[in-house]
Amino acid sequence: MALTLTCPVCGKRNGYEFRYGGEDKGPKPDDFGSSPETWCDYVHMNRCVAGIQKEWWCHRDGCGVWFTTHRDTLKNLEME
């Protein structure tokens, strides 16, 4: 995997070591009402930014931490 990511604990590492955790959507809102659609949208709908987006990654094969970082989805490069 060409991607490298910077783990806040272990530093810059090979992308193979990480698990993608999706776009950063912020903490769950307190109330979703009773509509399954609203909930479904929250869980499954993504913005799919063509450019720089903030996302969650887990250093699975390292320290195990979850962290956010910014990645350019067009170049598959982490932003400095």
Binding site: A2, T4, D31, V43, W66
Partner: protein, 971 residues
Amino acid sequence: MSRLQNQPTLRVDTNKPLSFTYKKKTFSGFKGDTVASALFSGGIRIFSRSLKYHRPRGLYSLDGECSNTGMEVNGIPNVNAEKTLLEKGMQVKAQNVKGSPELDAMGFMDSLDRAMPAGFYYRTMHKPARIWPIALQQVRKAAGLGKISPDFRMTGEFDEIFPTTDVCVIGGGPSGMTAAIAAAETGLRVILLEARPWLGGFFDYRQSEFSRDLPHYQRARELEARMQTLPNIRVFTHTAMVGAYSNNLVTAFQIGNEKDPFDERYLEIRAQSMIVATGCIERPLLFENNERPGVMQIACAHRLANTYGILPGKRAVFSVAHDLGIEAALDLFDAGIEIAAVADIRDNPSHAALVSELEQREIPYLKGWVAREALGAPLKSVSLTTLQGTFEKKLECDLLVASAGMTPVTGPLSMAQAELAFDQHTGFFLPKSLPVGVYAAGRLLGLNDSRAIEASGQVAGLSAALNCGKASAQALKDAQEMLAGRPQAERGCNLVMAPVKGRKAFICFDEDTTVKNIKQAIDMGFDATELIKRFTAAGTGPGQSGIPGHNLPLLVAQHHTDHGALTRPTTMRAPLVPTLMATYAGTNHLMSKRTPMHERQKQDGGVMRKIGVWNRARYFSDDFSCRREIENIRNNVGMLDATTLGKFRIFGPDALKALQRVYVGDMAKISPGKIKYSAMCNEDGCIIDDGVVVQRGENDYYFTTSTARAGITVEWIRYHTRYDGWDFNLVNLTDAFGVINLAGPKAREVLSEVIDADISNAAFPFAAYQEFTALDTIPVRIMRLGFVGELSYELHVPGSWMETLWDALSEAGKPFGIANFGLETQNVLRMEKGHLIIGSESEQRTTLHDVGLGGLWDRNKPAVDTVGAVALQQTENQEKRLKLVGFKMKNTRTPPKDGSIVVDDRIRGHVCIARYSHTLQEAVGMALVEDPLHAVGTEISIYEDECQGQLVSATVVPMPFYDPKGERLRS
């Protein structure tokens, strides 16, 4: 055939002959030869027949840019003979011929070209549609490359390494070596890749002077010696770079020599900086019969003589457009070849001295002339013409050295996302801008002056070092000034094609694409190079566009306008050089985890299976229905190695909050000494795991997960608490603890032999948790559970104590008939009891409600605080869902296969598990069926492969099948 002995540039060792077979005859070459050079030396001129027209093909470039020398070597087809080093005893065969390459029964295909215009099979062989499968077979038969036997097994060792480096240099020619030295001298780690088996690039075979009394090849060896003094340079020769990706990730594959422990190996190099110094290949000259054996490029003829000591012909004509062509003519003349003429497309060579050297040797030099047509097969003569086609002359020869100039090897740059643009001056596609950390050096920038080439390497090496935080800006500036002081890029030849029609002027050898085919495509309305490439297949062969890569966009641009701005190269993709699948596959890494009881279980007759990441005992006899194992649990007692269960400790002030987040139950209700059974759902309310939690101290819990979830649970809990900043620690103890499931009505009697404590049903009842010391020594955590439906104890012990405790239990259990049981027995037992395995009785869409475990969900917990609870609220009363039911087979003792579908007029669900139950004396199972088929008493029909259209019937019944009141597991 004898070799030229006095060439100082030889790369073959004529003291070490190697014999091999071709066409049932023994041939001989030398150590250092390629298969192709050895065959050429043995008099072979035709190496293969072409894909479509079965035209004879021979040596052309020597660097594998086309499939002309694709041969079968030791049973492996499509081996590029010009890049494969000769080994003793090799079995070499020609490909795509009926008969021999010299006398191919399919040779008549060449005269049928009018019947096969560009894309003819797309346009003709689909009406009516049924002819395509027939046509396909015939086309494949006639247009085969190599063939591989279906039972062919690849032998050899294939390795892989993943080195990290500061600077990765691609290309071991003068600029690459200079760059590597410059970067390494700043103290950085450098990796240098060279596709050929030796370093030196285009200096390696040249005897001309680099400086006074220093020939080019000597200069290359000086640079190589300098590199050897720098231990921080790691050189990989015979290593072709095949891909470049973001963050300067470079992939390559290396061919091992006899000292290497591998045949080929894959390299994935992570570099901070990357230098592309891949130099140039030659741009093929387009004229009629430009691929006839006997026609070859400059470096091919030059290297045959200087590297391999083989004279490429007796009488040669040169049609070139670069000083290197004149240099080659002089060298070949001196080696003993008669040179009939040197035609040069250019008005003047860059170095006038070369012309006087030709004059000294009385070789005619024809300015503004070019080859028009190669005549005769084998080559007998060549017709030359002026560029306008006004005058012609015919010269006899058996060798035509033809080349339209140089073309940079930009594949690596292009893959690294460098933007390439057409440059009028050089006629090259040059990098307009380079990504961060990527540098280019040497001939691919259009430089020809040897000193300038090295200076550009110096600049690239220092730039790369600066990018790594080493090297001084001043040193770089000095190097740049040095480069500026040398001759700049030279004007290149812009001629695309000799003045001919191009019916037999081949732009792509691999796919037999002629200039006429390109014209046909353009006439049909294709205007983009990428589309023309696909329609005519030009550049889609094993040569990876090596031959047409530069000419195709130039030719297409000519059609649009002579203005070069529109000219764009086609996209390069990995692998840039054909690579064996075996090399990508690497070593076979079939690995699985083993429990501490692995060897003991095997000794006891366990039939081991790879299940998930583990290797586990599935059966303990040849009877895969496991009747005796099952009956022993129901009547006596047995032991199962359940070490694979996920086991975790969670502790800290916020540990309970984290458990509340991921479990659907109210974990605050856990009481010491009691087991809490609960489940985890995902945000869709679908069940993903079940397990038990116990409290071992204040804010200190121990919990289990299913085997399949063991690897992901820590990540899952941390993910779902990522916004909270809670204070808790999570430790995966899966591999630290072993688990023994001691089950059966006599389990208590066995356990009491090793534990000196009151474990009576009153003191240690069902669902209790307690910690003991077994054999006065071993700390053991015991949960009284009942997954298999009998009295049973789950013993959790440190892994290092597993065997001791296991052996003690086996010994103690002997009077009670203790025996091993495997996974299949457990599977049947738990099915009879109606217990689930997540993933067997559930799938992606199955909610907690669907499997009847809705009662585990505590609806008083705030829904947004529990993963999945919002969806559990919303799906609770949803209709038409697949619900888990138990069923009994009607009129048959044979259970349907797991996964069989439940149907009526359409698919209504599937069987999750079904077995013949020895305990119940009938076939039972569980299925996920569409609401409302789940009502007890409903008859369902099941389809499976062998039912021959006769659906089998079953009746939905209440679960569990066995011991519905749970008296046995509470006993």
